[in-house]
Each structure stands twice: as C-alpha cells, then as structure tokens.
Amino acid sequence: MHEYTVVDELIGALVPRLCEHPGRVRAVVVRKGELRILSDHALVSAFEILARGTRLEGAELVVETVATVVSCAACGYRGSTGRLVEEGDHFSIPVLSCPRCGSEVRVDAGRELYVDHVTLSDDSPADG
C-alpha cells in the first residue's frame, strides 16, 4: 500500500504551492506513467482519506495515464512499444524492446508521476 506514501508526498508538496491561489480546490489532476506499479483505485482512496482536514479536502483526484515512449540507440526508432496482450484482454503491457530492430531501448515516457494541474473554483471554501 505505498499509494499512501505517494499521496502523502503529493499533498505535502501541493498544499504550500497553492497558497497564492485562493478558491476551492475541485480537482487535482495527476499524470501517471503506465509503467508505474501504482493502483489508481488505491491512489484515489488514499487521497480521500489523507486530504481530510487539508485545503484539498473534498477535491477529486483524477489519474491520467501516460503511454510508454521508448527510443533505440541502435536504429534510431522513437515511439510506442510493442505490447503483450494477455488472454481475455485482462491487461496489455508494453514490452521494453525496440519494435523495429529488437534492441534494448531507453524509456523516455511511461515512468513519470506528477501533478499536471489543479482546478479551483472561484468561491471561497467557506461558501459551502
């Protein structure tokens, strides 16, 4: 359940940065690379609990997924990867190998985890 650790870091870093932005926080939009081993569901429920009593209480945590992008030093390819699709389509995961020449690749996107933006409404939190 390290989603709690992640959300704890998120809230701790975000609240001070919102000081000069008055208004009620409606949504916190996080972008998460698909290679991260983090459950969206657990992130959302951790946020609900840990945001209580903070400026972020009642805001919705939205998790958007960032697709994997790789680049290959051997042939110059840059783009998406091949994917492994499990029977019954329970998941599809990127295979970290060059889809053009089969060499090892560098991951350029797919491991990030950051707050993209926060949506505020212009009423004050006290307005209900």
Binding site: M1, H2, T5, V6, E9, L10, A13, R17, L18, H21, G23, R26, V30, R31, L35, R36, I37, L38, L84, E86, F91, I93, P94, V95, L96, S97, G102, E104, E112, L113, Y114, V115, D116, H117, V118, T119, L120, S121, D122
Partner: protein, 221 residues
C-alpha cells in the same frame, strides 16, 4: 473555475534525488551495491548469505543492509557470515526507501566495503516504485509461489533485469514447470536475465554473480 498548472516535477522527486545521492555516495567509495527484493520467504537472505561466502572467499569485503518490518533475524544471519551489517526496521512501511538507506550507510565503514547487498522487506510489489540507489536490482521469487508469478505481475518483471527463480529443487513436488516462468519472463522482458537456482543445493548462484559483474572472471575485482 480556473486551472493552476505545474511544471511536472515528479511527486516522488525527493525519493529519486535521495536515491541518486546514495548512488553517487556509493560510487565515490567504490562500493558496488546490489538491491535484493521479492516475495516473503523466496530466499533473499539465503542468496545474500551464499554470495557473502563466495565473495569473501575471494578476498572481497562485503556488507549488507537487512530490512525487515520487525526483528533482526536476517541481520544476525549476515553478521554470522562475517559481513558487516546494518538492521533497518521499516515497521508500518512495506518497503525500504532511499532515506532509510542513507541513514544505514552512515553506519557502515564504506571505505572498507567492496560489495553491499541491500535486502528489502519481503514484498514484490511495493519496492518497484522506490529506487534506493543501487547499481543493480535482483528480484527473487520461488517456484513455491506457483508458475504464474510473472503473469500476475507483468509490469514488475517487464522492468526487472535480473530475476532469480529459486527453490527449483521443489519444482516437481509443487507441480511447477520452471520453463513456463522462463517463457513468460522472456515475453515481457526480452533483454532481462533469469536464473533458475536451488540455493539449498548451491546451484545457479555463480551464474547470477557473473551476470552482476561479481563473478571470479570479472577482472575489475
């Protein structure tokens, strides 16, 4: 309504910075660090114990960091082998993080260490998002967990370059075909290296150490 946009700094940036600081610190002292993680009871401590024997036998100075939620059993096992060891209790945290490793490093005489093993808490899933600053990560699973471990956690194995499948001596008894695990792994990670081991019988460890650059043929040692 209005949006406040951010610059995209990673939420775990602090963790990443600490891990990089550990990495640089270990580099400066010429310590080679290997992080060992994997499910509870898969054989992580046994692997480190045997690696300690092997490497010390060749004159290398080995240290370990033993992380457990509570207790100091693994730590004692490393000390008993003649390695320097630091015990880290993570208590309610299900994983070791770079900050705790930083504190553990303070307690080790890094000038007198060639190879450092960091044994994480028994937990396959969590540590993957928490880099520690090691040179290499080894994930240890065992056949007793079934032949579908890679299928259950494909994202983890897709990003793990060294995998040990231990307890192959029990494969027949538990009805597991290790070849299936090998096939699943090469499908999710075509460039990764997998080692079938029976640490109980002392089999497979040399191949792993070689791949990690810690074998007797690796000239830098």
């Amino acid at each position: 309504m209005h949006d406040v946009r951010f610059t995209g700094e990673d939420i775990l940036a602090r963790q990443l910075e600490l891990a990089e600081a550990n990495y640089r610190r270990l580099r400066e002292k010429h310590v080679r660090a290997i992080s060992v993680l994997g499910a509870i009871g898969s054989g992580k401590t046994t692997l480190v114990e045997q690696a300690i024997d092997r490497l010390q036998g060749r004159g290398l100075r080995v240290a370990a960091i033993a992380a457990d939620s509570a207790g100091d059993d693994d730590h004692r096992r490393f000390i008993a082998r003649g390695a320097k060891s630091v015990n880290v209790n993570t208590q309610d945290d299900c994983h070791l993080d770079a900050h705790r490793v930083d504190h553990a490093l303070d307690e080790l005489p890094l000038e007198d260490v060639d190879v450092l093993f960091i044994e994480n808490v028994g937990n396959l899933i969590c540590p993957a998002d928490f880099p520690l600053g090691a040179d290499a990560e080894v994930v240890v699973i065992s056949v007793t967990e079934g032949d579908d471990m890679v299928r259950k956690h494909p994202k983890i194995f897709a990003q793990t370059d060294f995998v040990v499948v231990n307890k192959v001596d029990l494969a027949a008894a538990v009805g597991v075909d290790p070849k299936r695990i090998v096939g699943d792994y090469s499908a999710v990670n075509p460039h990764g290296k997998l080692f079938l081991t029976s640490l109980r019988r002392g089999e497979g460890l040399d191949e792993l150490l070689n791949a990690l650059g810690l074998g007797c043929t690796n000239t830098q040692w």
